[in-house]
C-alpha cells in the first residue's frame, strides 16, 4: 500500500492526465454514444501499427542506435507476410514469415550500423530504399490471402464498457500483442537488468563497457530483436488491417512512428498514448469531414493531425531528451 502511494506520488502528472482523458472519453461516450465507440475504435485501429513501430524505435534508440529504417522493415514484412501466406495457403506461415523478415531486416541494420559502424541514418535509409525497390519489383497482382486473422475477445476485460469494446474485442491477436508489448517493453526497460544495461549502453557506452557490458553485442541483439515488432506491424498492415499488398502501402507510418517516439519521450507507455492520441486526432478529422454540419472546409480538417502534432511538439519541446549516445557507433578508446 505504501509502495503504491509512493508510486502514485512519483507519477502524479501522468496519472492525472490519464484520469482526465478517461473521464473525457466516457463523457464523450455519454453524450455521443452513436459515434464515440466507433471513433475510439478507429483511433486504436490507426494506432496499432504505430505503437509497434514506435517500440522498435524506442528499443533501438535506448540502446544508442537510430532506426530510420522502420518504414522499410514494415514494408518488407508486409510483403513477405502477404505473399508467403498467399502462396503457401496458410495464414500462420505468412505471419511467421513476416515476423522473420522483420528480424532479418533488423539484423541487416544491426550489422551495417553496429558491426560495420556505418552512419546509422544512412544505414536506415539504405534499408528503406532496398525495401521499396524489392517490394515494387517483385510485386505481382492478383494474389489473395487464404483467410483472415481471427478476431479475439478477452474474457472479462471485454466486458468493461467502452474500454473493453475498443481494446479487448473485435480485433485480432496482433492488437493485444501491441498492448502487451508496450507494457512489457516498459517493464523490461525500467525494471530489469536488461533494461538497465540497455539504457546504459544508449546513454554512456564507455561507462557501460567499463562495467563489463558488451556494448556492441547488446546493441546488435536489441536492434535485431526489435525487428520482430516491426515485422508484426507490417503483418498487421497487409494481413489484418487490409488483405492486400500494394506498393509503398506503409504510407509513411514508419516515419510517423519515429515522431511518436520523440513525442513519447523515448518511453514505451508514453509512446503508446501518443499513438492513440494521433489516432484519435485522425478519427476526429475524418468524422468532421464525414458528418459535415460544421462549415469547415475539408482541407482545413485534414490539417488537424499536423496542427495537433505541432502543438504537442511545441509543448514537449525542451522537456524531452534523447538518449545520450544515440546515433554514435561505439568504438573502444584504448584499442
Amino acid at each position: 500500500m505504501e509502495r503504491l502511494s509512493t508510486w502514485a506520488s512519483k507519477n502524479r502528472t501522468p496519472l492525472v492526465i490519464a484520469a482526465a482523458v478517461l473521464v473525457a472519453a466516457y463523457a464523450f461516450n455519454l453524450v455521443r454514444g452513436d459515434i464515440a465507440p466507433s471513433m475510439f475504435g478507429a483511433a486504436w485501429g490507426y494506432a496499432i501499427p504505430l505503437v509497434l513501430a514506435a517500440l522498435v524505435g524506442v528499443i533501438g534508440e535506448r540502446s544508442g542506435v537510430v532506426n530510420i529504417g522502420i518504414e522499410g522493415q514494415m514494408l518488407l514484412a508486409a510483403f513477405a507476410g502477404f505473399f508467403v501466406a498467399a502462396v503457401s495457403g496458410s495464414m500462420i506461415v505468412g505471419v511467421l514469415a513476416g515476423i522473420g523478415t522483420g528480424l532479418v531486416a533488423g539484423g541487416f541494420l544491426a550489422v551495417t550500423a553496429v558491426r560495420w559502424r556505418m552512419d546509422q541514418i544512412i544505414a536506415g535509409v539504405v534499408l528503406n530504399i532496398i525495401a521499396t525497390g524489392l517490394t515494387s519489383f517483385y510485386l505481382v497482382s492478383g494474389q489473395s490471402l487464404p483467410g483472415v486473422i481471427p478476431n479475439v475477445s478477452v474474457p472479462l476485460l471485454s466486458q468493461i464498457p467502452l474500454l473493453g469494446e475498443v481494446f479487448f474485442s473485435g480485433r485480432s491477436v496482433i492488437a493485444l500483442i501491441a498492448i502487451l508489448a508496450a507494457v512489457l517493453v516498459h517493464l523490461a526497460l525500467f525494471h530489469s537488468r536488461w533494461g538497465l544495461r540497455t539504457r546504459a549502453v544508449g546513454e554512456y557506452p564507455s561507462a557501460a563497457d567499463t562495467a563489463g557490458i558488451k556494448v556492441e553485442r547488446l546493441r546488435m541483439v536489441n536492434v535485431t530483436l526489435a525487428g520482430s515488432l516491426a515485422g508484426l506491424a507490417g503483418v498487421y498492415l497487409s494481413m489484418d488491417a487490409s488483405s492486400t499488398f500494394e506498393r509503398e502501402m506503409t504510407a509513411g507510418r514508419g516515419f510517423l512512428a519515429l515522431a511518436i517516439m520523440i513525442m513519447g519521450a523515448w518511453r514505451p507507455l508514453r509512446a503508446f498514448s501518443m499513438a492513440l492520441f494521433f489516432g484519435f486526432v485522425n478519427a476526429t478529422a475524418s468524422q468532421l469531414q464525414q458528418t459535415g454540419g460544421f462549415s469547415i472546409p475539408p482541407q482545413l480538417t485534414a490539417t488537424l493531425p499536423y496542427v495537433a502534432t505541432l502543438v504537442v511538439l511545441a509543448v514537449a519541446a525542451g522537456r524531452v531528451r534523447p538518449p545520450g549516445a544515440v546515433g554514435q557507433p561505439y568504438v573502444k578508446k584504448d584499442q
Binding site: S38, G45, V125, N128, G133, E246, M249, I262, G292, P298
Partner: protein, 366 residues
C-alpha cells in the same frame, strides 16, 4: 543538438525513399524494344500482320497500355477488348504493346507510327502528355486517349480524349444504394479530392437522395496527397468506422484506398446480407475478388464500348472533338442477381437508360 538530426534526417530519408522508388519500377533498359511484349492475337476476325499498314485499304489499330498488362481486368483490359472488337468489325489489323516503364510511352507509340498505323489507342491519364506530343508529331495518325482530359487550347484534329461521365456512374450506383439500404445511411470512402473522384461522389449522393430522400451519405476523402489512392489500410479503417455507425452500403472509390474499404466490408458481419459495398471504374467483381462477398455492383465507365465506338468514328471520318464523352453505367450484379429485388433492378435500369440518353441530369456541379 541531437534532435536536430531528425529534422534533417526524416525528410531526407523520405526524399531518398521516394527517389529510390522512382528508379526501381519495372524493367530497366529500352523496354520499348526488348522489355515489352508485343501482342499477337491469332483469334479470328482481325489480323496482326502489320506489313501493309501504309495501304489505304487496311485499317491498322495499335494499343499502348499504361504500365500494366492487357489482362489486368481493369482499364487496360477493357480498352484492349474494345480495340479487338473494333478491329474485328473493320476486318483490320490490331496489335498492342504492354508498357513496362513509364519512360517508354513515346518509344512504344513510335513503334506504331513508324509502321504507318492508322489509329493508336493509349490507355490511362498518365499517358496524357505523351499522347498529345505524339499526336502533334504524327498528324496522319489518329490518337485516342482513354480517360485523358486535355488542357484547354489543345487543338488537334487527329486526337481525341475519351472521357466518361463519372457523375452518371456514381448517380446510378447511388440510386441502387439508396434503394438497398435498410438503415438509410450510406458511406463513401474516397481517394484524393480531385474532380473525377468528386464527380463520382456527388453523383452517388444525388442518386441516393433521388431514390430515397431519407438517406444520409457519409463522405470521407483521404487527407494526404501523394498516397491518397494507395492506402488500403486507411480505407479499411474508415469503412470499419462507418459500418460501426450503422452505414450499410459503402461506396469505395479511390484506387487501392477504396479497394481497402471494399475488402473491409467484405469481412464484416452480415456482408452480402445486411451490408453491401459498391466498387468503381471497372467491374471490381473481377479486379478485387476479395470484395465479392459484399460487392453488389460497381459504378462503371463503359470503356470497352467507348473505345470501339471511337475507333469506328476514327475509321469513318473526323472525331467529334478534342474530347469524346463515352457512357457510364453500373456493372452486372453477379451473385447478387437474386438478392436484389426485381423492382429495384428495373428502376435502376430505367435510371441508367435515362442518364445515357440525356433525359436525366445528375445535377452535379463542381
Amino acid at each position: 543538438m541531437k534532435s536536430t538530426r531528425y529534422l534533417v534526417a526524416v525528410p531526407a530519408a523520405l526524399a531518398l525513399a521516394l527517389a529510390g522508388c522512382g528508379g526501381s519500377t519495372g524493367t530497366s533498359g529500352a523496354g520499348g524494344d526488348t522489355g515489352s511484349d508485343t501482342g499477337s492475337g491469332d483469334t479470328a476476325g482481325y489480323s496482326t500482320d502489320d506489313s501493309n499498314c501504309a495501304d489505304e485499304e487496311v485499317f491498322c489499330i495499335g494499343l499502348v497500355t499504361d504500365t500494366g498488362n492487357v489482362d489486368d481486368k481493369s482499364f487496360n483490359q477493357s480498352a484492349h477488348e474494345g480495340a479487338e472488337a473494333a478491329a474485328t468489325e473493320l476486318e483490320g489489323v490490331y496489335k498492342y504493346i504492354e508498357t513496362q516503364d513509364a519512360k517508354d510511352y513515346a518509344a512504344n507509340m513510335a513503334q506504331f507510327t513508324d509502321n504507318s498505323y492508322d489509329a493508336i489507342v493509349t490507355v490511362g491519364f498518365l499517358m496524357t502528355e505523351a499522347t498529345v506530343a505524339a499526336a502533334e508529331e504524327n498528324p496522319e495518325t489518329k490518337f485516342i486517349g482513354v480517360d485523358q482530359g486535355y488542357p484547354e487550347g489543345t487543338e488537334l484534329t487527329n486526337l481525341t480524349g475519351l472521357i466518361f461521365p463519372e457523375d452518371q456512374a456514381g448517380y446510378a450506383a447511388g440510386f441502387l444504394a439508396g434503394l438497398m439500404t435498410e438503415t438509410d445511411k450510406l458511406g463513401q470512402v474516397l481517394g484524393q479530392e480531385i474532380p473525377p473522384v468528386q464527380k463520382f461522389a456527388k453523383g452517388f449522393e444525388n442518386g441516393a437522395k433521388a431514390a430515397n430522400d431519407a438517406v444520409s451519405v457519409q463522405t470521407v476523402y483521404h487527407p494526404a496527397g501523394d498516397n491518397a489512392f494507395n492506402d488500403p489500410v486507411w480505407g479499411a479503417g474508415e469503412a470499419r468506422k462507418q459500418l460501426a455507425q450503422d452505414v450499410d452500403v459503402v461506396f469505395g472509390a479511390g484506387g487501392n484506398t477504396g479497394n481497402g474499404a471494399l475488402q473491409e466490408v467484405a469481412k464484416a458481419d452480415g456482408a452480402g446480407e445486411s451490408v453491401y459495398c459498391i466498387g468503381v471504374d471497372t467491374d471490381q467483381w473481377d479486379t478485387v475478388p476479395q470484395a465479392q462477398p459484399c460487392l453488389i455492383t460497381s459504378a462503371m465507365k463503359l470503356i470497352t464500348k467507348g473505345v470501339t465506338d471511337t475507333l469506328m468514328t476514327a475509321e469513318s471520318g473526323e472525331f467529334e472533338g478534342v474530347q469524346t464523352v463515352g457512357e457510364a453505367g453500373i456493372a452486372p450484379y453477379h451473385d447478387f442477381e437474386d438478392t436484389i429485388p426485381d423492382d429495384v433492378k428495373s428502376q435502376v435500369e430505367e435510371i441508367v437508360a435515362q442518364l445515357q440518353d440525356g433525359s436525366l441530369e445528375t445535377g452535379v456541379t463542381l
